[in-house]
């Protein structure tokens, strides 16, 4: 009865409006969307109306053909049409020329760009310097930079920037990183991975007020977590705990801590005191609902590892006050790469005992042997649980 009024799929797809087709094309690499120009007369101009440009050098024979394509597209496109989103990945070819990339970026910055993603693959000796025009591009809402250096600059102005991802970036002095973040007053999503600074002191910075999500992975210097103290979601990979000053995270509901381990340390000490440190962190997270701890140690088969643990096995001491989040907030706790060592077990036991609102305690063991795993599970399941609904999940 009602099928009288329904339209067959074939007709519906061919009558999709241009805007919907352009929208799908915007998810394709630009050279692929350009290929649709031969589909039909109607499709011929559609790819040029797409507001997203996505250029990846690896789909081209060399930099010369790549740059020819990028210039052609920029010229074919209507000059008054804005460029909302621009992604550029290049730098590997031996004939790479940074001047061309500078020109592309200059052109794009003047066209109302909102989402800029630059991924340079140049080797360190020829590392690409970010042109200054990007730093005052005030239309940006998303900025993702990978493998570049920041030249010294005086001002950064990103009044609309909500997302900032920096990976493998070097700043000449810490003041520049601080100045960079100062220029992002409405930042919500911050991801920093392998940002290199020549020295360690960063000084004070007010917590970014609108912070929602932070993902920090830094080796070699202590990231000031006070900068992200307003975040709701935090993922942090830590290599040097004694540098870490943990502020109070008033809004934090989800936290993931990854204990990283640098292979080049002669003595492979796995951060003595980390479980005690973890309970101190919990004191500073009054609203925490979800906690994940991942012990990410590379080369776990190396000989030094277990021996050292036995020598330096720390003693566990119950913290003097039960952290507030345990009494009423914590719902899930996840321990990844669990080894069942003394303090690890004591930590798990402490959580099970004191987390009154806990639904799930999830343990993922590193161990492969089923017997040992079974023993670990038995030991944990015998621990008294402070929450009547708590489920213990073990794999």
């Amino acid at each position: 009865m009602s099928s009288q009024r329904s339209i067959p799929t074939e007709d519906r797809i061919s009558t999709l409006p241009d805007s919907v087709i352009s929208h799908i094309l915007s998810f394709l690499p630009t050279e692929q969307s350009a290929a649709t120009s031969i589909l039909s007369k109607r499709w011929n101009p559609l790819w040029l109306s797409v507001l997203t440009l996505n250029f990846d050098e690896q789909n081209f024979a060399d930099f010369a053909t790549f740059r020819h394509f990028v210039y052609s597209v920029m010229l074919l496109r209507n000059i008054t049409l804005p460029i909302q989103s621009f992604r550029l990945k290049c730098g590997k070819s031996s004939d790479f020329n940074p001047h061309d990339v500078n020109r592309f970026i200059h052109a794009v910055v003047q066209r109302g760009i909102q989402n800029l993603n630059l991924y340079l693959l140049t080797p360190w000796i020829r590392c690409f310097k970010l042109p200054q025009c990007v730093l005052t591009c005030n239309s940006l809402t998303v900025l993702k930079l990978k493998w570049l250096t920041m030249d010294d600059f005086s001002k950064v102005n990103f009044p609309l920037l909500k997302t900032l991802h920096l990976a493998n970036i070097s700043f000449s002095k810490p003041i520049y990183l601080k100045r960079f973040l100062h220029g992002c007053p409405v930042l919500e999503d911050l991801q920093i991975q392998n940002v290199w600074l020549s020295s360690y002191k960063c000084g004070e910075l007010k917590g970014l007020p609108k912070m929602v999500k932070a993902n920090i992975d830094i080796q070699g210097w202590a990231f000031p977590f006070a900068w992200v103290r307003n975040a709701k979601f935090l993922c942090a990979k830590l290599y040097r705990p004694y540098d870490c000053q943990v502020p109070v995270f008033h809004n934090l509901t989800h936290m993931k801590i990854v204990f990283g381990w640098t292979v080049n340390a002669l003595i492979s000490w796995k951060w003595i005191g980390k479980w005690t440190w973890m309970t101190e962190v919990l004191q500073n997270c009054p609203k925490l609902q979800n906690l994940t701890i991942h012990q990410h140690f590379i080369n776990t088969s190396t000989h030094g590892k277990f021996i050292f643990d036995e020598i330096v096995n720390e003693d566990w001491v119950d913290p003097p006050i039960v952290p507030k989040c345990l009494s009423s907030e914590l719902r899930t706790c996840s321990l990844i790469a669990y080894e069942g060592l003394k303090c690890e077990f004591q930590f798990a036991k402490y959580i099970l005992k004191n987390a009154k609102a806990l639904h799930t305690m999830k343990i993922s063991a590193l161990e492969v042997d089923l017997n040992i795993k079974h023993q670990m599970l038995m030991k944990l399941s015998l621990c008294p649980r402070g929450s009547t609904v708590c489920k213990l999940s073990f794999d």
Binding site: I13, S14, Q32, A35, T36, N59, T65, H68
Partner: protein
Amino acid sequence: MAQEASSSTSSKTISLKTGDGEIFEIEASAAKQMKTVQRLIDDLGDDITIPLHNVFSKELPKIIEYYKKDITGEITKDFEAEFVKDLNDDEVKVLFLAANYLDANKLFEFLSQNIADRLESKSVEYVRKYFGVENDFTPEEESKLREERAWSFRGIKEDE
């Protein structure tokens, strides 16, 4: 006798009727995410069964499944990957058209990306067939275009 508490809008369910006559229930808060449905509710009221002529019993449950996860805030990349894992290109197309018809923005965006991913490096003929496009170029016009845009055909599979 205690008065029966009126149900809050968050726990209210809406009845949807597909083009092939089947009825499905959906939470009011999930229905809000589909603008077409919400408009129909505003016009017709939330107590009657809302008719959806261009959505069928094959795809509506999948859409409901997506928005059920969405209202609990649990949509992750893993969930989305799993969601489309067993769907073939045509099934995704049907879901996409339904999401477009229902004006369900989040699902629409996700499926646009998924369709683009599936079409990447597919042949021109495949894309034509997929979108039901009739080639109205003469062979001469087409070969001229291919020549002019030779740089954009690198990496695209030739017609099978």
